[in-house]
């Protein structure tokens, strides 16, 4: 056993230190300056690129999406007044990147809920579609990689380094936030669960960290949103770190049977346990082969 080297107090003590404040200020200035220097000259180009991307996206949209979502993403109502395809004016880039990036859109057939399937569009096409829909109105942008990169936990224990200990803290915190906010629908291991009227919370294991982040941000389909005002970005990262840890951790206890809890365990107990043991019982009580010979005949 190894003792955990962290305490809640340490983080704030360092921040309060006068030298630390100065260091942070200097670092911040340096960083801002550096970033500006790196990105400013390219901005003119990127603006033109962006317009080109939106244009491409619009073309793709008209072919693949407009039938349900309307030519300008305004949505299509059925005659009865219910939504055929919802309006996409304020869903944001992140929503498109999630829906198309996980293959949920375009929809193969109408249903209670769109399942995840093979991705239809290429990476560039998805970027173009996102850019177009993003240009229609407000809504969250595609998150920067830094937001969901759990290898960059930040200096959480305040020892001046960003290392494994910080990641451990991030994972532990993520586990708690996961259990408080996610397991109710997605199950304790992210295996998914049932929702009313044929809906379901999908399995969220083995999903791209970016998509997890986008799902929290945009609340796909019937899912609640977990906006940055609800769960701050650093805590979203913690949840992602926890899920990644679950993915990487060995199965300490053997085959997990889909991690669905006692139902699958009960099936194994009956089929595997009782089934096998009754099989043995049949063997134990079965009659052995018989010989037509008599004992003294054989001896003779």
């Amino acid at each position: 056993m190894r003792l955990l080297n962290r305490s809640a107090g340490r983080l704030s003590r360092h921040r309060r230190g006068p030298v630390a404040g100065l260091v942070v200020l200097l670092l911040g200035l340096l960083l801002t300056g550096g970033l500006y220097a790196a990105f400013a000259p390219a901005q003119a180009d990127s603006k033109a690129d962006q317009e080109e991307l939106v244009k491409q996206g619009r073309e793709l949209f008209l072919v693949g999406c407009a039938f349900c979502h309307g030519a300008n993403g305004q949505g299509v109502l059925t005659q009865g007044g219910s939504q055929y395809g919802p309006a996409l004016t304020d869903v944001g880039e992140a929503a498109v990147d999630f829906q198309v990036g996980t293959g949920r859109m375009p929809m193969a057939q109408p249903g209670t809920q769109v399942p995840r399937k093979e991705v239809v569009y290429t990476k560039d096409e998805i970027a173009a579609l996102s850019a177009y829909v993003g240009s229609l109105g407000t809504g969250p942008a595609i998150p920067d990689a830094e937001l969901y990169d759990s290898e960059r936990p930040g200096d959480l224990n305040g020892d001046g380094k960003e290392d494994d200990q910080d990641r451990e803290i991030l994972v532990t915190r993520g586990g708690q936030i996961f259990l408080a906010n996610c397991t109710a629908c997605h199950n304790f291991e992210g295996s998914g669960g049932a929702m009313p009227r044929g809906g379901f919370a999908p399995k969220i294991r083995g999903v791209d960290s970016k998509h997890i982040y986008e799902a929290m941000l945009t609340g796909p389909q019937s899912m609640d949103t977990f906006s940055d005002g609800n769960i701050p970005p650093e805590d979203k990262k913690a949840v992602i770190a926890y899920l990644e840890t679950l993915d990487k951790a060995p199965s300490y206890s053997g085959f997990t049977l889909g991690s669905l809890g006692p139902v699958s365990e009960g099936i194994i107990a009956w089929v595997g346990g009782i089934g096998l043991l009754v099989g043995f019982a049949v063997w134990i009580a079965a009659h052995t082969t018989r010989s037509s010979k008599k004992k003294d005949e054989a001896a003779a």
């Binding site: 056993m1 962290r6 803290i169 397991t183 304790f188 669960g193 044929g198 379901f200 006692p262």
Partner: protein
């Protein structure tokens, strides 16, 4: 005992020739023990005690041996488990939980899982053994019921068996709750809700059990004492009584040549039965160990410590609590508020009424049947399920009810795995738990009667030999051959159902009032119980049929001899 007596015993044993030195020593030990315990007399009777051999007679053994495995693994777990709800900060090896607050019970469960070598194996074995223990008790009970082994003189052993099933279930539930993880805590929380729903004293019961308000800090230590002392003690006592009665009554057997109500045919306790039972112990132990090593069960580190504000999708109890949980899911929202009191039918019916009712029905089954049939004889020969169609159908109906309720307890998993709506499953189950058992009863009963008819056919007309014969007219017929004598005897080795009393007979009996009504009711039930059963043929019927079959066979053979394209000697 006088000195003279003792010397005589010693002399008797001492004069037995000893072929080898080892045997001599063994003899000496046996002598030493017998002089003090008098084992000789008790063992003489039992060492060669006969046990009949059939796979279905070993189902109870699975329960017995998994109970032994439970005791062994359970003792191992107690060496580390700390049944306390004191909050501690986890400091063990499982990284994602490090630093988290949790109860000592959960922390020590984590320690057993991650810091004790083989601890996780033992935990999983203990849990698998518990699941198998209860499952095997149930299939053993089904076997006893379907074969009529519960009849006189074994009714009390049936009752003991029912109590064992009840205690096993409670033992399972208390054990499931001990790790204090999110899943088991949710179960305990539901149990708190059940208690609060009890009429009049509900909230008081809850406060007394939890030592205050839920969750309190008393429930784990209290469950622990129940789980490792109180219930296992009673279980052990009842298991001993169950086995003693088994030895006293001697095991039932299937009818067959040489097997009667007055004897028991099989292998002697020493060596064959002992070897088979002992071997089976190792097999049960081995299978449970393999399950424990290969299959994950209750991975507490993923659930995390119990926290009353958290929950996971797929919150289910272990399988044996699944059926009341299913009823709890499908019951409509019935709650009455009257005169300032609250009656939660939506909890009381599925939890406080149905399981005790089911247990009482099970316990009462042998007594109800013997009252209806009026059969007060001892029975040691088993019946095939088909030869008691109503009995078989009753149990299948009960099993159908159980099975549907059970499935309802997994409605969320069924919904996601089969892409159905939990709402629709629930609506379906609300009807199915009533209609299903009725349909199952009718189908089973008719099925049994058809099988009886099939048996009768075989007895009277022989078995289908698989040889097709073409008649001169071009028709095809299958050659039937008479059953071997032993098989035919086995098929006829069953009781004829008695004729129920008629109304006239009852009225002529000179009784009056309530007694007559009871007799009439009984006669009516008896008629229903035996209705449409096929009785075994009489000696005369069998003789006629065999005569007829021989004649037919003879005819067929002569036709064959006449060849396919020639007309045979018979006139049609």
């Amino acid at each position: 005992m006088t000195v003279g007596d003792m010397s005589q015993v010693a002399t008797t044993n001492g004069t037995t020739p000893a072929p080898t030195k080892g045997a001599q020593r063994a003899g000496a030990i046996a002598n030493w023990a017998d002089e003090r315990l008098g084992l000789g007399t008790a063992m003489k009777k039992n060492l060669r005690k006969v046990f009949p051999d059939h796979w279905s007679f070993m189902l109870g053994e699975i329960a017995l041996w998994s109970f032994v495995v439970l005791l062994l693994t359970g003792v191992f777990l107690t060496l580390w488990f700390d049944p306390s709800m004191t909050e501690v900060h986890y400091n063990g090896s499982y990284d994602p939980a490090r630093g988290r607050e949790m109860s000592s019970a959960f922390a020590s469960t984590m320690e057993i899982s991650f810091d004790v070598r083989g601890g996780l194996l033992m935990r999983q074995m203990h849990h698998w053994a518990a699941m198998i223990f209860i499952a095997s008790m149930m299939i053993h009970m089904m076997r006893v019921y379907f074969t009529g082994a519960f009849r006189k003189p074994r009714e009390l052993n049936w009752v003991i068996g029912c109590l064992l099933l009840l205690l096993g279930t409670i033992e399972g539930f208390t054990g499931y709750s001990l790790p204090d993880d999110l899943l088991s805590g949710t179960g305990v929380r539901a149990a708190d809700g059940f208690m609060k729903a009890s009429p009049v004293v509900g909230s008081y019961m809850s406060f007394f059990l939890f030592g205050g308000e839920f969750p309190g800090d008393a429930i784990i230590p209290r469950f622990y004492v129940m789980h490792i002392l109180l219930i296992p003690g009673i279980l052990l006592g009842l298991v001993a009584a169950h086995m003693l009665l088994l030895v006293y009554h001697k095991h039932t057997q299937w009818p067959g040549p040489g097997r009667t109500e007055e004897n028991v045919v099989g292998y002697p306790m020493l060596p064959v039965y002992m070897a088979k039972a002992g071997g089976f112990f190792f097999i049960v132990f081995g299978v449970i160990t393999l399950l424990g090593g290969l299959f994950s069960i209750n991975a507490v580190w993923k659930y995390g410590p119990y926290d009353p504000s958290k929950v996971t999708a797929g919150s289910q109890p272990d399988w044996y609590m699944g059926w009341p949980d299913g009823l709890l899911r499908i019951i409509p929202a019935w709650e009455t508020h009257i005169f300032g009191i609250t009656l939660s039918w939506n909890v009381m019916i599925p939890i406080l009424v149905m399981p005790p009712l089911m247990l009482m029905i099970l316990i009462a089954l042998p007594f109800i049947e013997s009252w209806i049939t009026g059969d007060k004889r001892e029975h040691h020969l088993l019946q095939r399920p088909r030869n008691a169609p109503t009995r078989t159908a009753i149990m299948v109906a009960l099993m159908t009810f159980y099975g549907l309720s059970w499935a309802a307890g997994g409605n969320d998993i069924i919904a996601i795995k089969l892409h159905l709506s939990i709402n629709q499953i629930t609506y379906f189950m609300r009807g199915a738990v009533f209609i299903g058992p009725v349909i199952a009863f009718i189908i089973t009963r008719r099925w049994c009667i058809s099988l009886q008819r099939h048996d009768e056919e075989k007895l009277l007309h022989g078995y289908e030999s698989g040889v097709l014969v073409r008649s001169p007219e071009g028709g095809y017929a299958e050659k039937h051959l008479p059953l071997p004598e032993a098989k035919a005897y086995t098929l006829t080795a069953r009781d004829r159902d008695p004729e129920p009393e008629t109304v006239e007979e009852i009225e002529a009996s000179g009784l009056a009032g309530r007694q007559v009504r009871v007799r009439k009711l009984r006669a009516k039930l008896q008629a229903l119980f035996y209705a449409d059963n096929v009785q075994k043929p009489t000696a005369e019927e069998l003789h006629d049929a065999q005569h007829h079959a021989e004649h037919e066979l003879h005819e067929l053979e002569s036709q064959i001899a006449a060849g396919p394209n020639r007309h045979g000697p018979t006139e049609h």
